[in-house]
């Protein structure tokens, strides 16, 4: 494993180059260019506003700015997760020629896919920070939790991408399963709603590894509260396990890639 990681380090330039290619290719020949990076989160926020509005109507309570800001904060990492897993899942099949003809550590492809999505995430985040400054949500020391929470998200994204990209080489079903899970996953993840709204039973939703991370982000950025530590530990732990497990799984299957792609 140490050797494998050293080799990956040796090929880091290739990783950056492939990630760069993925970013460039996504925005070539498009008029909107980098605005596309913001489009998906904007749509999520808009649908969040609809859901929140309906909820407010049903509860006879006013719709608050903080609620919408919370949806916006959670929608970006969610969009990042979705796009990196979707893109990562296809990364090996899409680069079939390179997988079968040239030798280098193949985890470069899913990792580069995540890095390309991370780039989109940063573009969108910049827009979000400006938005948050304009609507003046304020700030607190709890903001310091943010990097750790984002790190957990990235780990989760890389681990999952590696696992599903390798698995989808052997079984094309994986691609469709991933697609379905990503489409409907938003209903099982507290993006539009808060876990608190579901009362006690909402805790079960926090088992979804993305949930405690998103919940924590919303807590420390918008609500100026500390994240729920046990759940945060769970989310982080899950991220680590996903990263490690995904990598080991990927490396185990890698020698057979060429013959089964």
């Amino acid at each position: 494993m140490k050797e494998q990681l050293l080799e990956l380090y040796k090929y880091r330039e290739l990783l950056y180059t492939i990630a760069q290619r993925d970013v460039k290719v996504r925005y070539k020949q498009s008029i909107m260019g980098f605005l596309w990076a913001i489009l998906m989160p904007v749509l999520i926020v808009l649908s969040g506003i609809v859901v929140r509005y309906a909820y407010a109507l049903a509860a006879h309570a006013p719709l608050q700015t903080a609620d919408i800001a919370s949806v916006a904060v959670k929608s970006l990492p969610w969009a990042f997760l979705v796009s990196s897993i979707r893109f990562g899942c296809n990364s090996l099949i899409a680069n079939r020629d390179l997988v079968t003809k040239v030798y280098f550590p193949k985890e470069i492809f899913p990792v580069a896919a995540v890095m390309a999505s991370l780039f989109d995430f940063f573009v969108a985040s910049t827009a979000l920070v400006v938005l948050l400054l304009v609507i003046q949500t304020g700030w607190s020391a709890y903001l310091l939790w943010t990097p750790l929470l984002l790190l957990a998200t990235v780990f989760l994204a890389i681990g999952t991408s590696m696992a599903v990209s390798a698995a989808s080489l052997f079984f094309r079903d994986v691609k469709f399963i991933v697609e379905v899970v990503l489409t409907f996953g938003i209903f099982f993840t507290p993006v539009f709603y808060d876990v608190r709204m579901l009362g006690e039973k909402g805790k079960w939703l926090l088992l979804n590894p993305a949930a405690p991370v998103l919940d924590g982000l919303s807590a420390c950025i918008i609500h100026h509260q500390p994240p729920q530590l046990p759940w945060l530990a769970y989310g982080l732990g899950f991220g680590f396990v996903a990263l490690f497990g995904g990598y080991v799984f990927f490396k185990k299957l890698e020698p057979a890639f060429c013959e089964s792609i």
Binding site: I18, V25, L98, F171
Partner: protein, 422 residues
Amino acid sequence: MSDVALRMEHVYKKYRKGEICNSLRDLIPTLTGRIFRQQELSENDKREFWALQDISFEVKRGEAFGIIGPNGAGKSTLLKLLSRVVKPTRGLLHVHGRLSALIELAAGFHPDLTGRENVYLYGAILGMTKREIDAKFDEIVDFSGLAEFIDTPVKRYSSGMHARLGFAVASHVNPDVLLVDEVLSIGDALFQRKCVDHMRKIIQHGATVLFVSHSLKTVADFCSQALLLDHGHPIMKDATPRVITQYMTLLQQRRAADQNRPVVISSVTVRDAAGPCHRFRAGQKAWIDIEVSAHEPCRKLAVVLYVLDQSHHPLFTTSTERLGHGSVSLGSGDILRCTFEVELNLGPGVYHPSVNLLRYDCEQLFDSWEAAETIYVWSEKDITGPVNCFPRVVRQDLSSAEQRGASCYPAEEREIPENVNL
């Protein structure tokens, strides 16, 4: 440091034929089936086959090594093993130093990116660092001759431009070991010339090069040693000309056994006035007897004789029809015998008389036997080159400048123009 750049020891590679389960739905019946039929499967699994068996060879640093063989011999598998994209089922493989593969150029190109971006991308894929590419960028672009189009997306390139850029990048990697597939046949004649020269330069600079090719000419031109593969078995490893001759014999055996051809060349022999002979003096007469047998009727057949040199370059071609004997129509079971008389006005060296069966009006090639025979031509005179003009020196006298005097050349004519390179 050892002088061995690459070594294979008893390498085996097994593949599975047929469809490997590609969806979960297929997997379930296969798995359940396997539990019940485990015994018989492992005993007699016909879906497996050996692509390579017991391959051992080593290539010295700075050597050019060729791997030849008919289709299905296992050349591509060998290439994949060497470039480490597949692992051998058994056996050991050592490569010392950086290995780079010049295989299927431009697999790494992305159509939407510009030529410039693709040079960096492909360079990185082949293992160059950004700094190395920066340093060589101008050289690469210059070599490809695409400076004008370097900022155009590669999808607008013609296939030739595509391949030229690919070769330009790949050949500037500077590896210790270079694998070369069928890539030296791209671009126009000028570019090919450039590629060949560049390959020679790479070899001269001490890189080890492995050619895996159908093109015997390439292998003969570059490689001193070669390995012949057939059906995954190593047949022969020796000096290239001998391996090529063996390969020709192998092809001929296979060809003669082929019952699907309506007509085959069944034998070719070379003789002098006394009988079968392989050594000739330059200028001597030789007779080439050719026997053709027909399994099915065929019409308007002409026997074509051509001579190849040691590197399999054609030197000379003629045919029964072109020599004014008209074409022949053969019935089923007929045997045609013909004899060419040739004067071997050839330079000293090794030559291969070869035979084709051709129908001229529709250009149909019935059968072809390249390098059917091998002859050695020697000459008392010290000359080189494939042709022999039987030279003689009839005059050699020196007139010194002093004798002629300086007045022979007016002063202004003796001035050397500035652009002449001394």
